[in-house]
């Protein structure tokens, strides 16, 4: 187990390096001078331009710039934005919003997704099952921003239940609607996965045994069947935790939430290399760690899987 963790972490290092370098190189080849871009149409004095280029290592070749950036990263320095604010502070400040949004969405996926899946699985072939299957297929197919607009239009504007956009109302009021929208795809997927897995396991011999020895339906379903049925669901939910943070860009854009996705989108337009790479590194790190956690959890849930 320990060796497996170490090996997985070692595997993550080249992935992180390559991903950040890729993003860094792409930001580097963006056309135009970023300092001049900040000044707009006004000409920047050559001495100021030269000083700023020196400070942000803009004249170095790509590899040298990247090496200097990495060196800073190892000492906990994420670099500074072109406005002089430490990128670490920007990430810390924006991260709260994204983590709140991601966890709210994840909560909906876990609770609603599994509940709907169990309901459909137990009512297999009846109208509740058909309804849930049909609805989840539609939700999976409709792009998330259309779901977002519909939610804004119906629940936000017409019914007035939730704030339409912005984060001023704070958690939870401002996060329920975006959280539901962000969760919609995963929620539908979790429901279908739970249903399929539950239906398959309800036919297993051990369930028939549990039924035959007179256990209540509740104990058979929750204690015996669901436990085994949730293995693929847990895998998906673990991976989802990472991709929800990264996938929040569109949701934050629609609901105007000042999270990390909105920040990275703005920074890409402003060509702020350090911010883009810093946030990407953080997101990829979360993604890789979530995948690792899933692999480890898998072994705990299913004793047949051993890591050695």
């Amino acid at each position: 187990m320990g060796r497996f963790v170490v090996r997985r972490l070692l595997h993550a290092i080249p992935v992180l390096l390559a991903t950040t370098f890729l993003i860094y190189a792409l930001v580097f080849v963006l056309p135009g001078d970023p300092i001049q871009g900040l000044a707009g149409d006004r000409p920047v004095p050559p001495s100021v331009l030269a000083e700023l280029h020196r400070r942000y290592h803009l004249d170095d070749p790509l590899v040298v710039q990247y090496a200097k950036y990495l060196g800073g990263l190892f000492t906990g320095d994420f670099g500074t934005t072109f406005r002089g604010q430490p990128v670490g502070d920007v990430i810390a400040q924006r991260w709260q919003v994204t983590v709140r949004l991601g966890l709210t969405a994840w909560f909906f996926e876990v609770v609603l997704g599994i509940a709907l899946g169990v309901w459909a699985g137990l009512r297999k072939g009846r109208w509740a099952d058909h309804l849930i299957l049909g609805a989840t297929t539609v939700v999976i197919a409709v792009p998330v921003y259309i779901v977002g607009y519909l939610a804004q239009l119906v629940l936000g504007v017409r019914l007035g239940w939730f704030p339409v956009s912005g984060g001023e109302a704070g958690w939870p009021a401002a996060y329920v609607l975006p959280g539901l929208v962000l969760a919609s795809f995963g929620l539908a997927y979790v429901a279908r996965l739970t249903r399929a897995s539950l239906v398959e396991n309800l036919r297993a011999d051990y369930v028939r045994t549990a039924d035959a020895k007179g256990l209540s339906r509740l104990r058979v379903v929750i204690g015996h069947t669901l436990r085994n049925s949730l293995i693929p669901v847990v895998t998906f939910l673990g991976v989802e935790l990472g991709s929800l943070m990264a996938g929040a860009i569109v949701t934050e854009y629609i609901f105007n939430l000042p999270g990390i996705g909105q920040q990275v989108f703005q920074s890409i337009q402003l060509r702020e290399g350090p911010t883009v790479v810093g946030i990407t590194t953080a997101l990829v790190l979360v993604f890789v760690l979530a995948n690792l956690a899933v692999d480890l959890l898998y072994g705990l849930l299913d004793p047949r899987i051993r890591h050695d």
């Binding site: 595997h11 080249p14 992935v15 992180l16 390559a18 991903t19 890729l22 993003i23 792409l26 930001v27 080849v29 963006l30 056309p31 297929t137 539609v138 999976i140 197919a141 409709v142 792009p143 998330v144 921003y145 259309i146 607009y149 239009l153 504007v157 991709s243 990264a246 996938g247 860009i249 569109v250 854009y253 629609i254 990275v264 989108f265 890409i268 337009q269 883009v276 990407t280 997101l283 990829v284 993604f287 890789v288």
Partner: protein
């Protein structure tokens, strides 16, 4: 999709066989024939095929639909900007006062092209890389697996946005390349694991013993037996690609005006949909129906090819 000849009545001795090499009994039940039999019996498959055919027709011959369903004369008048549906113009008008039905019909082409081209490209890349990685193993496999992990670890919207902003004057071709670059990893993994499962089979060993070169082993023996699951995953993926392309257009980093696409129409609609919901409704409806059809069709194909799911 062409229909294979229906299973003819067996033992029909009165009529001489038209073609001499037709087998006298029912055709052998291959996996693909079996899958097709399954697919043919499901109404949802036909419904999806009908929607896809209709959207394909709008992409191929948009003029046909604009001539049939609207009085559009190709002129846009700003005075009619954002007006709702009327007789003669069933979808109303867009921001520039152009007939919205004509615009929505024209918007199907980039979506379909991207969906098909990206899937074909990603399929090609993943089959080649998965074949090499699975067949040779060793350092080739290690290198390709790490590359797959990098591509897999890159969040889609983030990666695509960075690349597309880096190359501002991109058209649909460049977008296809970007979507392929971000979309090959999952299929490559599937292909690799299939190749590993197949490459030590007896028939491959036998071919190797008779002196077949690696290229022949890969192309004649491993590839045909390993490729089916990847093709199925690719089919499932078409809908996601179309959705992804529209998302990038919608965010303003994909196709740019004056291109016409559903994503761009939705991008415009976001500022006006509270007062003019038709701007949102029609492209959203077309986009969703297309994606839904591809996903349902992919699901059905996967079910048909995976006997365990029956």
């Amino acid at each position: 999709m062409t229909s294979p000849h229906p299973p003819g009545p067996t033992g029909d001795l009165l009529l001489p066989a038209a073609d001499t090499d037709a087998p006298p009994q029912a055709p052998p039940a291959s996996l693909s024939r079996d899958a097709w039999q399954q697919l043919r019996a499901r109404p949802v498959v036909w419904a999806c095929l009908a929607v896809i055919a209709l959207i394909g027709l709008t992409a191929a011959a948009p003029g046909l639909f604009t001539a049939l369903f609207t009085d559009d004369d190709g002129r846009c008048e700003l005075a009619r900007s954002k007006l709702g549906p009327t007789t003669g113009h069933p979808f109303g008008y867009d921001l520039q006062g152009c007939d919205y039905l004509a615009q929505v019909v024209r918007g199907s082409r980039p979506s379909l092209l991207a969906g098909v081209a990206v899937t074909a490209g990603a399929l090609l890349v993943s089959v080649v890389l998965g074949l090499l990685a699975g067949f040779y193993g060793g350092w080739v496999d290690s290198l390709l697996s790490r590359a797959t992990e990098v591509a897999f670890g890159l969040p889609f919207v983030l990666g695509a946005t960075v690349i597309l902003v880096a190359f501002p004057r991109h058209g649909l071709g460049a977008m296809t390349l970007v979507l392929v670059a971000l979309g090959w990893s999952t299929m490559t993994r599937v292909m690799r694991s299939q190749v590993i499962a197949v490459k030590d089979a007896d028939y491959v060993r036998a071919a190797r013993m008779t002196g077949a070169r690696p290229s022949r082993l890969m192309l004649r023996h491993v590839l045909p037996n390993a490729v089916t699951p990847v093709v199925v995953v690719a089919m499932l993926n078409v809908g996601n690609v179309i959705s992804g392309e529209a998302t990038l257009d919608f965010l303003g980093v994909g196709l740019q005006y004056p291109a016409v696409s559903w994503g761009l129409q939705l991008n415009t609609a976001q500022s006006y949909f509270l007062d003019h919901p038709h701007l949102l409704a029609f492209p959203a409806l077309f986009l969703s129906a297309t994606v839904l059809s591809f996903i349902l069709l992919g699901d059905a194909v996967r079910d048909a090819y995976d006997p365990k799911l029956r």
